[in-house]
Symmetry: C2
Subunit: 428 residues, 2 copies
């Protein structure tokens, strides 16, 4: 019998993905065996991982997690990975800092406790390491040998780095005219980095073609045919936040929206912790954050719609610039069901928020972090977010990757190298 490790035909592989038992359609509930598929054969709905957690005792599980490694694999019992995942070569992201943001809280008038979950501490400095690390384990289980994706930024670096560590070939597709800095960040890991003559939509269309072609056999596209596994990585943000709060749910959590997947998986993670008895069952509110220049979900939320109308993105928050977010309707559901909201801020407010977070907490966030902090401020000012409740704001990336956003920041003074000049400048 072929083992998963050596199989060249992924669908025949005998897979061990721990507590994951099947793929289940989010729309119609149709189940299929674990494999590299992402859309329901019955209704074309998105497939999600189904688990068997029935054997777990809450107290034992908590102890097992707390004794685990300082990365996402401490939650291996709740993820689609084999029990010995921590022994395999991978990028091992997670267990990033939950920063108690007292200075920011004072500025925003938050009295109930404000925390920043700072995912810039991941290996390639964005939350993408979490999802790619999951995709790696799925790729290993299905016998894939090449890891691939389309990307314009964070994902390319995360795939390149993780593939290098885990011993996969990587082949990443990007628009051919991407800024040189971003190309370097993705190219340094030594995988194939292919420029496509066209825009990001052309890149995606090409990848879809490749998946259906024999040339793409043995290729795992992290956010396409491995998407159900990949997406589960975002649950670890929910797990970590609760564990770092002392196994307590936050009252309010502010999450950026690109495809919307991260927000839905954070909700899934919180619900799982409640069902498993790891946290007390009480209400929490999830708030979604977008940039005004790409705010299809926020626009639908405010209009009271269930359907999200695509937009053409035009914002500096490029890592969130998905004009037609696949999980938009689910995000609307969750925001409404939990008593949260979806809000957006202008690019100017994004920049202000990046500077506010840096100045108060010493955290230099990517534009996506400016979006969540800016939206938090706006929601407090509008009386939507309750400042007397425990609030967690996500920073999902690193300011070093979006330096252009704050390029106007500079020297506060220029002086000659002597004390007179120092005094003249009013610095004494």
């Amino acid at each position: 019998m072929q083992t998963a490790e050596t199989s060249t035909n992924p669908t025949d592989a005998a897979v061990d993905l721990g507590p994951a038992t099947a793929l289940s359609c989010r729309e119609c509930g149709h189940r299929v065996p674990l494999g590299p598929v992402f859309a329901c054969e019955e209704c074309f709905g998105p497939l999600e991982i189904a688990y068997d957690f029935s054997d777990y005792d809450a107290e034992e599980l908590r102890k097992r997690i707390e004794a685990g490694p300082a990365n996402i694999w401490r939650y291996a019992p709740l993820l689609p990975v084999p029990a010995d995942v921590a022994t395999k070569p991978n990028i091992n992201p997670g267990w990033t800092k939950l920063v108690q943001a007292d200075n920011l809280a004072r500025e925003l008038g938050v009295t109930g406790g404000l925390y920043v979950k700072d995912d810039s501490g991941n290996p390639t400095h964005s939350f993408k390491d979490r999802v790619v690390a999951q995709a790696i384990e799925a790729a290993r289980a299905f016998g894939f040998t090449t890891l691939s994706c389309s990307s314009t930024g964070n994902l390319a670096g995360a795939v390149g780095a993780a593939a290098a560590r885990a011993g996969f070939r990587s082949c990443v597709f990007i628009p051919h005219d991407l800024e040189q800095g971003k190309v370097v960040m993705a190219a340094v890991y030594g995988g194939e980095l292919v420029g496509i003559e066209g825009n990001y939509d052309d890149v995606n269309r090409f990848c879809s073609e490749l998946i259906g072609d024999p040339a793409g056999e043995g290729w795992g596209f992290v956010n396409v045919n491995l998407r159900p596994y990949y997406a589960e990585g975002s649950k670890t943000l929910a797990y970590e936040i609760c564990e770092q709060l002392g196994w307590r749910l936050p009252d309010q959590i502010v999450v950026p929206i690109a495809s919307g997947s991260q927000l839905t998986k954070i909700d899934k993670g919180l619900k799982e912790l409640i069902e498993l008895g790891l946290v007390e069952d009480r209400p929490y509110k999830i708030f979604g954050a977008q940039a005004e220049g790409c705010s299809p979900v926020s626009t639908a939320y405010k209009a009271g719609h269930d359907v999200v109308r695509p937009q053409k993105p035009n914002t500096i928050a490029k890592s969130l610039a998905i004009g037609n977010p696949a999980d938009g309707p689910y995000v609307l559901d969750i925001a409404r069901r939990t008593g949260g909201a979806v809000e957006d801020v202008t690019d100017e407010q994004v920049v202000d928020a990046i500077k506010l977070l840096a100045r108060t907490e010493g955290i230099f966030a990517e534009t996506a972090g400016g979006v969540t902090v800016g939206v938090t401020r706006k929601l407090i000012e509008n009386g939507v977010l309750d400042p007397s409740l425990t609030t967690v704001v996500l920073n999902t990336g690193d300011g070093l990757k979006t330096l252009d956003a704050v390029a106007g920041t500079g020297l506060t003074a220029t002086i000659r190298p002597n004390l007179d000049s120092f005094r003249e400048a009013g610095l004494a």
Copy 2:
């Protein structure tokens, strides 16, 4: 009585810096009370922290450390900080990954276990967060209100971020014509960022003037008048490496040399762990790594000299470009005493080593990391470093901060968005 927290006259403050009892001259042993001084009044030698560790029981101490936070404050009992340091606002660096670098080991022929201590995981992505976090606690104890330094890179960002979090004013001095990207990285934290019309030497001379002037009263210069405290932060690298190896000394460790302080403090940390009974007492070898374009210590080592002759730096490894390293003679001592060595590599070898580390382990290192990996390779090839022994290589910074070094890296292919073009490029 004035408390340390509110004192405006640092030297009068009653300080609680945990196990630290005095400052002791490294040259003549003369002791002075803990305070913001850095040179011996008797012989002008460098002052170091003296500790009282006599009450510690090895087993209790180990348990206390293991139960501590996932940052450098787990080692509070061994650092010049108060016991409740973890409750104070600080940047909380450390507990970065010790990556088991099996792919790199295969490339280099290391069979005894090769590890990369990856300090790019720190809050501002360099090891400077460790030393600045220490300086912050000393500044707090001495009642300083402004944190300052001269810098051309990593240190400026580390000081800006830590000061923001800890509630200090910061005023950082840099050459006025620094690259815009580096200015932005330092300016975003909102402190004073003052450009000095002159080169880095002019900046340093001005800072020395300022320290002696009333205008500098209440100012803590992290690497000048707070240097004895600041420097101790590097000990935590030694502690973490041993704890992460399962409370075991590495056989060989490769450390970059700028001022040489980090290498001497790693040696101090290893010796302390042996004396405290936290690790077995057996030999270890410390190797120093420099770039050829700034290799005063390596040059002295190879010539068999005890004295280090200053050089004018000319290398892409700018974070190591100190032509007159203060701790150079101590580094020579340590390399010779432990059976290690000091070696240097060319800029071309630095770039090759950055790419090698990225390609094998998915770690994108700053040029300083290219220096240590490049030197490791060279020392193995020359038969100086024993590949059958456990070896730890330090990466002290992040590739995102020195993108220029690998600017030549780029697309491996450019294709049109169709399968024919994909096949023509030989990618299938």
